[in-house]
Symmetry: C2
Subunit: 126 residues, 2 copies
């Protein structure tokens, strides 16, 4: 059984989440040991929410779950790469498919790319 190095960032490792078909990077989240073990055993992407300080089964509120298709770890066992099937078509709470919808242009300003897939107000209420 692989052992991840949770010591470098206060008990958390970053998890890069990639669409298993297109290769698009959808988001970055964090896992503590419990989130990592639950992801392995359930096959559903589970993270640790730093803002809410608790386990976060991705999509439990929005329905936009992530089915894990492949898991990789990096050379020094302190970063996870999940290849997932993104249910509902969007990973970002803003409604965009990917959290990385802002591109830096040559002047150093941000430019929005793409369009939201869902309306966050409808999905999360208020």
């Amino acid at each position: 059984m692989v052992k991840l190095d949770f010591g470098k960032t206060g008990g958390l490792v970053p998890a890069i989440v990639q669409d298993f078909k297109t290769g698009d990077v959808l988001m970055l989240a964090y896992m503590n040991k419990a989130a990592w073990e639950q992801t392995l055993s359930s096959g559903k992407a589970t993270y640790f929410s730093r803002s809410r300080q608790k386990l976060w089964i991705k999509g439990n509120t929005s329905g936009n779950r992530q089915i894990v298709k492949e898991i990789r770890i990096d050379c020094d066992n302190d970063t996870v790469l999940l290849k997932v099937e993104q249910i509902g078509g969007a990973a970002c709470h803003t409604g965009y498919r990917s959290c990385f919808y802002k591109k830096i242009n040559p002047e150093g300003a941000t430019e929005i790319t793409g369009k939201p897939v869902f309306d966050p107000e409808e999905v999360y209420g208020k």
Copy 2:
């Protein structure tokens, strides 16, 4: 000019590095404000080495530089996504193309995928 949120992880933001052609995730590194600004101004991926506690122009020792082709940031401005041209064919100090050369199999053990592109002993000495 965009402002990144360096406050959540002690002055650093994670940077996901992706091959601009294949979409393969090559590595994850960290940037402080100086590394971010130098990446923007130079077009060469520059990080902050947590182990050496100093600015790290990727490839300065190995020659395996990363030419930045596109920069994205995420919804809450605390993660960077770099799309790069990987000079020398390998991003990982182990000689593998990607740092994510270890796959988790259904039993929870790691399996090595692919083969090293270079011999680290030749590149880094020792």
